[in-house]
């Protein structure tokens, strides 16, 4: 089917999902509240006990923390894609779409694009919270924009994994539990909340190659949140964090766009 058709159909589907964000603001409130809680917990409860390179006072940890929270939040934001699709499959809306002469790939494209809107909204709220607890961007506007873009683009790729998973599992509940089990270790065994040097050797290696660490490292660099005098990372992925993040993004998209679309064609409601 012609590209313009895919885009215009995807636009119609995306608009439908955005209307839903408007109609059910609770969803946005809760996806935003939990990261805000994380910011406050880490900034004021755990933060004092965590030593980061480049400073001993609590404000240094808050500078360190925000990029990690951003990364975790947009990855959790990507799960909305899967949860939304699981719900649509169950409620027969996917059947309706599949019986229409629309471009099949538009359903997932529209879905993942509308979830970008959700993630942007969440990032705005998170940044404001960050500013309140003493985080700041110390780089240029262009670098800051690049930092946010990298977070969004990586989360967009993750949302395609979630799209595939959402149509594979039998219910929203199963989906939520399944992603929780995967996302928690991925976002915690990383440089998100603690400096890598504090981890045991095996976990440290895992964390260095974990793409979540790379996104975090890249945004920290681009937001200027790494104080002068902090030694360069020792592993290749973290030395080339933006590039490593983009490599993962491309790989995930290349694998999961076709896989998710195949699953869409197979998915059936019960």
């Amino acid at each position: 089917m012609a590209v313009p058709t895919v885009l215009s159909d995807a636009h119609v589907v995306a608009r439908r999902n955005i209307i839903k964000i408007k109609r059910v603001p609770d969803l946005l409130v809760f996806t935003t509240l939990s990261p805000i809680m994380f910011v406050l917990l880490f900034a004021y409860v755990f933060g004092g006990a965590i030593q980061v390179p480049g400073g001993t006072d609590p404000s240094a940890y808050r500078e360190f923390l925000m990029a990690g929270i951003f990364a975790q939040t947009v990855i959790f934001g990507a799960t909305i894609t899967g949860a939304g699709l699981a719900e649509d499959v169950k409620k027969g809306i996917i059947d309706r779409f599949r019986s229409l002469p629309m471009a099949p790939s538009a359903v997932l494209t529209g879905r993942t694009l509308s979830d970008v809107v959700n993630n942007v909204l969440v990032l705005v709220v998170m940044s404001l919270t960050g500013l309140l607890v003493g985080w700041a961007i110390h780089s240029s506007v262009a670098e800051a924009v690049a930092g946010f873009l990298l977070l969004i683009v990586f989360a967009y790729a993750v949302s395609w994994i979630m799209a595939w998973l959402g149509m594979l599992v039998p219910s929203v509940e199963v989906f939520n539990n399944a992603t929780f089990i995967v996302i928690f270790p991925l976002t915690f065994v990383a440089n998100t909340f603690v400096p890598l040097e504090t981890l045991p050797k095996v976990l440290q290696t895992f964390a260095e190659w974990n793409p979540v660490s790379a996104v975090t490292q890249a945004s920290r660099e681009l937001f200027g949140n790494i104080p002068a005098g902090v030694p360069e990372p020792t592993s290749w992925p973290l030395q080339n964090a933006p590039l490593y993040t983009l490599i993962w993004t491309v790989i995930i998209l290349a694998v999961f766009i076709p896989v998710a679309n195949l699953q869409y064609r197979r998915s059936t409601s019960r």
Partner: protein
């Protein structure tokens, strides 16, 4: 047990006269041949054949799990059969599903409207996805909301709708592009009697306009009111087909049901009444009851009462009732319809 009946029946609304025999696709809007679908070790469809002549209504009747939904899903391109072929509006469903989608409307068993969107937004979205264009989609949404008496609720999210309103909106969704062939999967299951009556009215209007319709139902009465032809399906097989009247004749018009006061009189009552029935009476000594297919209505009932009275048999209860899906099944398969998992009653 007919499985391939060459004598097609002329539909009530058919203007084309004789319908086509199987194999001649000239005037058939839907043709299915030998559809088979297996899930792991469960055979959902075991060689289903059916034909819906253009401008007529086919009722696909059967209990839960009979294969009704599977048949509809295959015909609407949602599911691939393991074998068999199908044509809808002259297009091969398996070879060119996208062209089929332009020519059909589907309203599913689970009302597939988006509960967060308003009625208007739902219909407008469907119009856009049929590629009617922005202006035409909006216009069509308003038209349908008026036609289905949903104008007042047009700008409310559909989750605030009653069950009946939701079904009407879902049906409206199937009509957005004015497709020549419409599939309705259990359009009234779960509706209260009022909702069901409203739905029937809407469907009848639709049919009067000449749309070809395939609807599935668990209710003989519904198929009776709405369908020209009925195909009865069970365990993935077509076990009977014909008009509602033919099917009812096959199961014997009405049921005479009575309960005797004294169990010992039951056998005698059976013998006395047997000549009045069109089938043998079945006796249930535990409940002191007798059930027999009859024709002739009140006259038969009066005659039965006279005979029993003459013989001095006292009754606790007696009545005539119309055949239910259970009766059709009992007659056609020798077992009640509710054998299948759920408590599928012939009538709700």
């Amino acid at each position: 047990m007919t499985d391939d009946n060459p004598d097609r029946h002329v539909g009530r609304h058919s203007t084309t006269g004789l319908a086509s025999p199987p194999g001649a696709p000239a005037k058939a809007a839907v043709v299915a041949r030998g559809l088979v679908k297996t899930y792991k070790d469960v055979i959902a469809l075991d060689g289903v054949d059916l034909t819906v002549p253009e401008g007529t209504v086919l009722g696909l009747l059967g209990p839960n799990g009979a294969g009704k939904t599977t048949t509809v899903r295959i015909l609407t391109t949602l599911l691939h059969p393991d074998s068999g072929s199908a044509e809808v509006a002259g297009v091969d469903v398996l070879r060119d599903p996208r062209s089929v989608r332009r020519k059909i409307g589907l309203s599913g068993q689970y009302a597939a409207v988006d509960e967060y969107l308003t009625g208007y937004e739902n219909l407008e979205m469907i119009g856009r996805l049929y590629h009617l264009g922005k202006a035409r989609s909006r216009e069509r949404a308003r038209e349908l909301l008026a036609q289905f008496h949903l104008e007042d609720a047009a700008d409310r999210p559909s989750r605030t709708y009653s069950g009946g309103m939701r079904r009407r909106l879902d049906l409206a969704g199937a009509l957005v592009a004015r497709p020549p062939v419409i599939f309705l999967d259990e359009p009234t299951t779960g509706l209260d009697p009022r909702g069901r009556a409203e739905m029937w009215e809407v469907i009848q209007t639709l049919v009067a306009e000449g749309t070809t319709l395939l609807l599935t139902t668990q209710y003989l009465e519904e198929a009776d009111v709405l369908a020209d032809d009925i195909v009865v399906i069970d365990h993935g097989k077509v076990i009977a087909q014909g008009t509602a009247d033919q099917l009812k004749l096959q199961v014997g018009g009405e049921r005479l049901e009575l309960t005797v006061a004294d169990e010992t009189a039951l056998e005698r009552a059976g013998t006395l009444l047997e000549p009045l029935g069109v089938g043998a009476p079945s006796l249930d000594p535990g409940r002191r009851s007798l059930l027999m297919p009859v024709t002739g209505g009140a006259r038969t009932l009066t005659e039965a009462l006279r005979r029993l009275d003459d013989a001095g048999i006292t009754l606790d209860d007696v009545g005539l009732r119309r055949p239910t899906l259970d009766d059709v099944f009992l007659t056609l398969t020798g077992r009640p319809a509710e054998d299948d998992e759920n408590e599928t009653k012939g009538d709700a």
